[in-house]
Symmetry: C2
Subunit: 335 residues, 2 copies
């Protein structure tokens, strides 16, 4: 197959109609017209081969994931996706990789009405950098964006979906653990093609007091909310393990070469696994019915796992309500 | 020195006040409030070590250049810089590299009132991806953005500043050529710390019919304007060489190991050198006084190098007005 030139490549795989943009792909800049009464939420994420994904990851899933992790940031902000840019460094421009990558990427973009309006392609070690733009309404001069800084003492603490699935897949793929093929398949989809909780984020506008997406592990990301809100929290780890670790029922089928899987290890995957892309949010107890309604409307389960408290710091409780030491490290890209 | 964690790193080097943003660095998204009557111009560029810059490039200049190439896209669009995001993959988080990189980056950002509102940092082969946002007025529903598609038959064709300096520096740094240290220093600044023509782009709003920034070489970038405008052009190569190749006077001092520097080679650097970051634009002959005024206001020289014609294609003329074959390849990141 002939190697493709840069401009051919953009035109063939990434240039599509952009009905919402004033100017789309192919000029020095894209030009977008913000709607009156809205603000723009912006987020950028970079995925690096060998660090965020295995170099042999299915390119379709990789295209999906690269956009999904960005849409997850918009979801945590309660923003409606509008558009995105894609910068792509590739070792070589191969159609067999680019075609499925573009397909996975653009299928998720279409699902959320999020237009690819511009980008850059270059030769280099595989690196995918996406920047997304979403719309947030402003009402009477106040933003409806969900922020990390709004949690109040007394608020309930919630998490959407399930946690630890991606970590389970990672352990298996790294050869630390073996599981039946059907279990791996489900967990691997969560790792390689996560579902951003966009609908839930939109439904929580005006209901949640604070939100963040769980990408580096529940406890680490909760720490950002607590710090930026100037509060503390108590987390019921038994609820987390029983309600959020969907694969817990599979434990009898999990096996490891050397040591038995300890409960602490399972809890670690759930509390600090990483790559979950669920929403962690807070809401006043008076809003419990509204939270339930938002979860129903978004068709996304949510679980109440604790409370926000005025006393700073994070307190973990075990199934007997006794303090549990926090030995669960969260993910740091330079640790 | 201790390696820095990801969050320390962001806080120490890149977190600054963002007076124009509703929400700045440190939440899931930045939130910006577009001003009424404006559209947003967006551009993204990715710089890869070994491809776009030497791995040992001065980090301060690299910080400058990474933003400059993006501001150059805003300039070509006639957009006023507002904000940018930075995604950074680094082999290791070293203060001795990060401090000057941030300083170079943020000094240029401050010069243009362009706020760093968000980003991402990760471990990986050195890669810098910046996305910039600029403001363009809309008047009576019409965008004032300068586009590639607006050139008309009969328009004059202009280039700002000088061309080929970056290519000269590259040839020397790659050991193809030797020049006196003072010449290298000047050329190297153009290669490693180019000046984006933001003021000129703003001054050309309502004056120029089309514009593009010259990043991959004059002729290649002109080709995009011609294609998207559905027109052709004639270019006077003697004007280009005599007026835009500032280093031409230095030719007697240039030396090469093997072959003498041919005029064709010099012309090639000027017409297709790459990394120039000048503006190429078109304007009606009736606008010559306005173009001159714009150049004065922006304190940026501009040179008229040819005309747009209805007949498609690019025609180069030599100093006698005779056709010159176009053998000057432009830069393709995958060629």
């Amino acid at each position: 197959m002939q190697p493709l030139g840069e401009f051919d490549l953009i035109a063939r795989f990434f240039k599509r109609p952009t009905p919402h943009a004033v100017v789309g792909v192919g000029d020095d800049c894209a030009v977008l017209q913000p709607r009156p009464g809205t603000q723009w939420a912006i987020s950028t994420d970079m995925l690096v081969a060998g660090r965020h994904f295995f170099p042999d990851t299915d390119p379709g899933q990789l295209g999906h994931k690269a956009l999904a992790v960005n849409l997850s940031d918009l979801a945590a902000c309660g923003a409606q996706p509008v558009a995105f840019t894609l910068a792509l460094a590739l070792p070589e421009a191969r159609e067999a990789w680019l075609a499925p990558f573009a397909q996975g990427l653009l299928a998720l973009a279409d699902l959320h009405g999020c237009e690819l309006v511009g980008g850059d392609t270059t030769q280099g070690p595989l690196n995918i950098c996406i920047t997304v733009f979403g719309e947030v309404p402003v009402i009477n001069g106040r933003t409806l964006a969900l922020l990390r800084s709004g949690a109040q003492a007394g608020d309930d603490l919630y998490v959407s979906g399930t946690l630890g699935d991606a970590r389970l897949a990672l352990e298996v793929l790294q050869g630390q653990l073996s599981v039946p093929p059907a279990v791996l398949k489900a967990a691997r989809t969560r790792l390689q093609a996560p579902t951003p909780r966009v609908a839930l984020g939109l439904a929580l506008r005006g209901v949640a007091t604070a939100a963040i997406d769980v990408s580096d592990g529940l406890l680490g990301d909760l720490g950002h909310v607590l710090q930026q809100s100037g509060v503390g929290a108590v987390v019921h780890t038994d609820v987390v393990l029983q309600r959020l670790a969907s694969w817990r029922a599979l434990v009898p089928w999990l096996s490891e070469p050397d040591t038995p899987l300890s409960k602490a290890r399972l809890l670690g995957w759930t509390l600090a696994g990483g790559d979950d892309y669920e929403l962690l949010f807070t809401a006043a107890p008076a809003q419990r019915a509204q939270v339930a309604q938002a979860a129903l409307r978004a068709q996304t389960p949510v679980t109440r796992i604790g409370q926000i408290e005025a006393e700073r710091g994070l307190r973990l409780l075990d199934e007997h309500g006794q303090p549990l030491p926090n030995t669960f490290a969260s993910f740091d890209h330079f640790a």
